[in-house]
Structure formats: C-alpha cells, structure tokens
Amino acid sequence: MIFVEIISWIFIFTGALLGIAGGIGIHRFPDFYSRLHAVGITDTMCAGCFIIGLCLQTGFTIASLKLLLIFVFLFFSCPTATHALADTAMLSGLKARLDKEQ
C-alpha cells in the first residue's frame, strides 16, 4: 500500500511542478502565440499527472471513474479551446513574433 502511496505522491508532485512551470512560462515567453504552448503544459501533462495521482489515492471507486471522466473532458475541450483562440487571434490580425533566421 505504501508503494501505491509513494507513486501517487510522485505523480502529484510532478503535476504541481509542471503547473508552476506553465505558470512561469506564460510570463517568460514574449508573445501570445508562444504563451499558448506554456498553457499547453498545464492543460495536458500537469492535469494528467494530478488526475492519475488522485486516482491512485482514491483507489478503484466511483470517485476515480469521475476523475478519469474529468480528464477525458479536459483532454477534448482544451485543444479545441486553444485552437479556437489561436484561430481568432490570427483572424483578427495579431502578428506572431517569429524567429528571423529561418
């Protein structure tokens, strides 16, 4: 049991670190389009690690099923939201700051 506990701690801790990394990322990156990628971290792996860690904590119950459902919904809605946002920004003429040496 202590084994499962430790694994779930590792997952939650990784999720916490990734969340903070994403939070720092949206302040470190210079323009809107690159910030999208920083938010991508918090939407995908950070959320995933948290959910897996919590599932290990609750064990095989209805609660873990609900947690997995949350994960699935986030997994489908987050990229859609990101794409909609990027598309709108592009339509409105917001320029991306690109690398000059390409």
Binding site: I20, T42, K66, I70, F76, S92, G93
Partner: protein, 91 residues
C-alpha cells in the same frame, strides 16, 4: 502533506495566471489566462475533494469540466459568425 504541496502549487499557478489576465497586453492573452485558471480551478476542487475525503465534491469539478466544453462551443460559434472580436490589440 502532499496535498498541502499540491494545493499550494495550484494556488501559485492560479495567481500567476491571474497576473497574466490582469496584465494583458492583448485580449487574447487574457482569454488564455482565464482558460488556464479555469483548468486549475477544476484541479483545485478535485484535489480538495479527495484531500478532505468528501468525494461527492468531485461532481462539481466534473460539472465545471463539462461547462467548460459548453463555453468553448459558445466561443467557437461566435468565432464562426465572425462578429466575435475583430480588433487587434487593446490598451
């Protein structure tokens, strides 16, 4: 113990997102930050529910994850209509 760390980390992330939402500079940065805060709040509620043993509370996080989807569809609809937001930068 680990839950304290997790809650603390999520709150830090939310505050970073909130700072971006307030600073801008463009409208899209703000929407992006709001999205992130939304996801983090779902996680915060889930973590708190498991932490306090009141697993019924996970339903709220689930509701919000679903509502998020509805919100995204609403935003998409406006994008499609084209009268959603057409200016470039604000401030």
């Amino acid at each position: 113990m680990i839950f304290t760390v997790a809650t603390f980390a999520i709150l830090v992330t939310i505050s970073l997102g909130l700072a971006r939402a307030l600073m801008g500079p463009t409208v899209y940065d703000r929407i992006l930050a709001v999205n992130m805060v939304g996801t983090k709040t779902v996680l915060l509620i889930a973590v708190f529910a498991v932490l306090s043993g009141r697993t019924n509370m996970i339903d709220i996080a689930l509701t919000y994850a679903l509502i998020n989807l509805v919100g995204v569809v609403a935003v998409l609809k406006f994008v499609e209509q084209g009268n959603f937001y057409t200016d470039g930068e604000d401030d």
